[in-house]
Point group: D2
Chain length 226, copies 4
Amino acid sequence: MLKLSTPLILVNLKTYSQSLGEKAVHLAKIAEKVAEDTGVCIALAPQMSDLHRVAKSVDIPVFAQHVDHVKPGRGTGAVLVEAVVEAGAIGTLLNHSEHQLRLVDLEASLLRAKEVGLKTVICSNNMAVSGAAAALGPDFIAVEPPELIGTGIPVSQTQPEVVTATVETIQKINPQVVPLCGAGISKGADVAAALKLGTHGVLLASGVVKASKPEMVLRDMAEHAK
Amino acid sequence: MLKLSTPLILVNLKTYSQSLGEKAVHLAKIAEKVAEDTGVCIALAPQMSDLHRVAKSVDIPVFAQHVDHVKPGRGTGAVLVEAVVEAGAIGTLLNHSEHQLRLVDLEASLLRAKEVGLKTVICSNNMAVSGAAAALGPDFIAVEPPELIGTGIPVSQTQPEVVTATVETIQKINPQVVPLCGAGISKGADVAAALKLGTHGVLLASGVVKASKPEMVLRDMAEHAK
Amino acid sequence: MLKLSTPLILVNLKTYSQSLGEKAVHLAKIAEKVAEDTGVCIALAPQMSDLHRVAKSVDIPVFAQHVDHVKPGRGTGAVLVEAVVEAGAIGTLLNHSEHQLRLVDLEASLLRAKEVGLKTVICSNNMAVSGAAAALGPDFIAVEPPELIGTGIPVSQTQPEVVTATVETIQKINPQVVPLCGAGISKGADVAAALKLGTHGVLLASGVVKASKPEMVLRDMAEHAK
Amino acid sequence: MLKLSTPLILVNLKTYSQSLGEKAVHLAKIAEKVAEDTGVCIALAPQMSDLHRVAKSVDIPVFAQHVDHVKPGRGTGAVLVEAVVEAGAIGTLLNHSEHQLRLVDLEASLLRAKEVGLKTVICSNNMAVSGAAAALGPDFIAVEPPELIGTGIPVSQTQPEVVTATVETIQKINPQVVPLCGAGISKGADVAAALKLGTHGVLLASGVVKASKPEMVLRDMAEHAK
C-alpha cells in the first residue's frame, strides 16, 4: 500500500452525493492515480457504508470519518474501531466540527483507536482547542475555523494567524503531533500556503468532491505539496 | 428478494465481534436459508461498514441500525439515508436504547427515511414512549424494556403486560403501525409468546448473534412464528 | 395565589439581559398587576437563578424553563424537580426548541414533574411532534415553528394552518391536553388570532421581554385574551 | 468577603435533598463558620435555584455547578454566566462527570466565564483529560476518577498515582493551573493526603452533604488542610 506520509492531502468525502457509493470508489481511484504519479500522499475518508468498497479498491490510505469508543457488543448504530479496521481503513477523523465530541468521549475514542492501530486526526476549531487536543496525543490535528468550511475561502491564505498559532501551540504542548489545516482549501496555492505556515498537510472536502474536475484539482494540490 | 413481511424476526447485529465483517455475511446466509426453508421473514441489521457486503450477498431484507436526518452534503460521520439505500438496505432502526434520539431529530429522521422509501422501526422503552412513537407514524414500533436487553430474560414471557399495553396503545393512537417486541428473546417459545400478545414479530440480537448454533436458534424461532 | 387558568399568557424570560435578576422581579410585578386588573392568567418562566426571587415576590404562576429527570442526589448541574417546587414554581417548560430533549428523557422528565405536582408545557416544532407530545400526556403543548421564534412574525397570523393542525392532532390523540402556540407573538391581535384557531393561550418571550413598554404589551394581550 | 484562596475545600451540593433550598443556606453558614474559625477557604457550589439565596447569606465563595456559553438572549433553560454573577457566585464548575461537555463547548464556556470574571474549575476523569483541560487554561482542575465518586473510598489514599500523574501533567502543560482532586473524600486525613500529593485542595460532595455532622467533618478537613 502507499504508506501514510506527509505532506498529506486528506479528502473528507462527508455525505456529499457526489462521493456516494460507486462514486466514492471512482474518486478513490482518481486519488490513487494522482498519488502514484506525484508521489504525494492522498488519503480519503468515505462514509461508513462505502469504507469497505473503497478500501478494497485502492492502495491509498483510507480513513473513517468518526469512531465511537464502544467495545465490541452492545453499541447499536455506533462505529466500532474493530469494524473500521476490518473494513480496511488505517485511520479515523475525530471531533469534526460536524460531529463534535465530549472531551471524555474524545479521549476514550482516541484510546480505542490506538488500541487497534488506527491513526487519528483530531479536528479543532481554534488554537485553544488545538492545544487541548495536542495534550491528548493524536497523530494529527487539523485546525479548521468552522466559519470557513465549505466556503472556498482558504484558511491558509485568509486566516494564516490561526494556522500559525495552532502550529506553535501544538509544537509547545506535544511536538510529536503533526499539524494540518483545513477549511476553504480548493487549489494548489492554498496547499502551498498551508505548508509554508508550518503544517504538514491539509484536510479538505468540497474543494475536491464538488469540483467539476477532481483529478485536475488533486493534481494541482499534489504538485504544490511536493 | 424475499419481501419484508410479518411475522418478522429482525436480528440486530449491533457491534458484536461475532457478527462483524465476513461473519455478518455468514450469519446473513444462515438467516436467508432459514427464511427460505420456513417462509418466515428474517431481516438483519448489520453495522454500517457491513451493510453493503451483507445486502449484496443475500436476498433477505437488510436494515441499518440508525440513520441521521442530514441532507446530502455536510454531515461528517453521519448516516445519510441515501447512502443506506445505495448500500442495499430497505429499512432502518431508529431510537434504539443504545442510540437514543431527541424527539425532533427522531421525527426528522423518520421523514428523511420515508423520503427515500426506507421502512422504519422505532425502538421504545415503555408504553408511553411507544404511544409517542406511534403518533409519528413509523412502519413498526419495537418495545424493549432496557433492563432486559441482552439478558436472555424474555420480555414476552416475563413482562407480558408491557407488551400488551404497548400493543393496545399503538392500536389506539395509530393502528397502521405494526407492534414488535424485544429484549431477552432467545428461543422459539419467546417468539410464540410475543405473537400471542398481539405483536407481529420480534427484535433481537444476542439471542442469535451470540448463540453457539445461530441456525438452530433461528429455525426454532421461525417454526414458532409460523 | 392567582391560579393557573386559561386563556394563558406564558412569558418565557429566556436568558435575556432585560429579564435578569431584579429585572425579572420587576417584570413579574408588572405581569401580576396586569393579571389582577384584567383577570387573565399571566405566567412567567424566569431563569433558574431567578426562580426563587420571582416566585416569592409575586402571586402569579411561575414556571421553570426546563427540568431534568435526575433523582435527588448525584446530578451536578442538573435541574431537580424538587428544587423547582421548593423555589416556588408551579410548572415547567420542557423540550423548548432551545433545549431539546431525547424522547426517553422527555418522557422521564414529564413523569418526574408529575410526581412533584408540576404542571408541564411541552414545546413542539410542528404537528407531528405535537402528536407525539400529546401521547405523553402533558398539561399543555405549545407549538412553535422555530423559524418564527424571536422574529415578531406571529405564527397565529402567518402560519394558521400549523396551529390548526396541531390543535386537531392533539384533540384526536389526547383531548385532555391544552394547546398553546408561540413564535412571533408580540401584540394583542396575535393572541386573539391564536385563541380563534383553537388554542387556549400563547407562549412568548421577546415580544414582552424586549418591548420598550412591557406593561402596555401585556395589557394589550390580556385585553385581547378576554 | 472571605477571598478564594488555597488550600481550598470546595463542596459541591449537587442535587442532594440534604442540601436543597434553606438547607443549602444552613450548610453554607456552617461552612462560613468553620472557614472563619480555621482560616481555611471553604467554598460551596449549590444548585442554580439556591445560588442567590446562598450567596447573599454568607461571606464565603460560592460557585455554580455548571455554566453554558450562550450569550444573553435566546437560551431557554441554559445557565447564563451573567446570571451566575448577578446571583452572587464568583466561580463555576465545568465538565463535572455528571455534566460532561463537548470539547468545543467546554472551551467556549471557559471563555464566557472568564469574560465575566468567574473563576473556573474544570473537572476531569483521568490524567489525559486533565492535560487537555490544562491546555485550555482554567483556574483549577479537579481530577476525579468517576468510579470513586460518592463511594467514600478516597482517591488521595487509594489512587495516589492518578493524583500525582495529574499534578505533574498540569505542571508540565500549564503551571498556572491549580490542581485539586476529588472522589471519595470524606475526612481530614483524605484532605491531608491530597495536599501531600501536590494538589492545593479538594472537591467533594457526599462526604460533607450526607454527613450526620457536616460541621465536624468540615472542621476535621480544614484542620488537616492548615
